[in-house]
Subunit: 242 residues, 2 copies
């Protein structure tokens, strides 16, 4: 897997199937431009208009929904290799916002062109479906966490998932990685209050399970914590496509 300098789209889809040289080339030609965005530049608007979506190549972003009472539900944090705004091109999505969490780099591509390409190289279409399906599996797992796990398990599960996803894209180890979130982000992602997040973090730290300090996460005993949180990374692993 020595494609670290090739196209972001190529890297993403190669997680789901082995690309031939020809396929890689074709994909690479889809990338329109590299963009650098700062913290306050939302990118939900960008895409809708000109039928483009993005792949995140550096930094963190997050997608969220704002309720009328001003509260916020964060749907997912997006890291290197994740699609941004792909779903918004395919369905209404009312009011899902996407915002950089740090300064980010993204590569832009056109959905039309991608679909067009799918007709010539069918396997690519499967890969895109698989990527979409994986995102859906992640959302479902968050739903389960918020619906049926206590605050502590929920928090633990969250950091375990994050660790796995980051390790997968070479951004750290599953039990030790950089993480630029604030406790407010955690609160809005996990359906808790920021204050309670703080207490739970303390509890996790004092129990020797996990430390989250100054933008870095340490997980003491990954196996033990996985059991505690009911974390089974099965839903994250891409699986071979036809």
């Amino acid at each position: 897997m020595d494609r670290s300098h090739s196209n972001a789209l190529t890297q993403k889809l190669s997680k789901f199937l082995d690309l031939t040289a020809r396929e890689s080339e074709a994909l690479a030609s889809l990338a329109r431009r590299q963009l650098t965005l700062k913290t306050d530049q939302g990118l939900s608007e960008q895409g809708q208009a000109n039928h483009t979506a993005f792949i995140l190549t550096r930094g963190w972003a997050f997608s969220y929904i704002l309720l009328q009472d001003g509260s916020r539900q964060i749907v997912d944090f997006r890291v290197s290799g994740d699609f941004l705004g792909l779903r918004g091109l395919l369905s209404p999505m009312s009011d899902l916002f996407i915002e950089p969490l740090t300064d980010i780099e993204v590569t832009e591509f056109q959905i039309d062109a991608l679909l067009e390409m799918g007709t010539q190289v069918p396997r690519l279409m499967s890969a895109i479906l698989a990527a979409l399906a994986r995102d859906q599996a992640i959302t479902v797992e968050h739903l389960v966490s918020i619906g049926r796990r206590g605050a502590l398990e929920r928090m633990a599960h969250f950091f375990l998932e994050l660790g796995s996803r980051l390790e997968e894209v070479g951004q750290g180890r599953k039990d030790n990685y950089a993480c630029p979130l604030t406790q407010y982000h955690l609160a809005d992602a996990l359906g808790l209050s920021a204050i309670h997040v703080n207490r739970i973090l303390r509890e996790l730290r004092e129990e020797g399970h996990l430390t989250f300090r100054k933008g870095e996460v340490f997980i003491e005993d990954h196996g033990q914590l996985s059991t505690l949180a009911g974390f089974d990374p099965g839903y994250l692993k891409p699986h071979p496509v036809f």
Copy 2:
């Protein structure tokens, strides 16, 4: 839209784009067989093996995840016209179960054949992506409900969504429809205890908002309740595809 007797797949996808006669025919040829399933026959297993998925044509089903402590999180209730098990073919999904809630009828189709067809009729592929994206939008809305809405708004939002979805497929009116769920189902879908579900239902009834009795739902003032619950059906409406 007088295709009520045509193929289920045709009906489903025609929500997202206008099919030509040729396209309809091609799609119709994908359906392998009609199955009738009873309440206790799960169908997660069925699909995975032989690469088939289903469209629900009659009755209700639901998808859920079981946690190790025995609790259950229902992800979605599926009604006529919804896909069943499509995502499971594309990603691992660890342990998402799908089960009939009533006796149901489904039409089976092969994912491979569907993808294959997409290469010849590209617009179909867009429609499938759109259908998947809509399911994702629904899941996200559930996430928001559980994460950030109080029990009463959450319950109201749930019945409002259900009403819209049922009306869309001609299974009732958005403010009055048949609904075979038990309070336990509601509890596991909404992240509440069954007992609390009961109290909230009573409150909704006494406040004159909504009645759920003997498998039937009445919504008094749809507009008012929508405001109360923060329900905006935008995320449900299919939107034109390229």
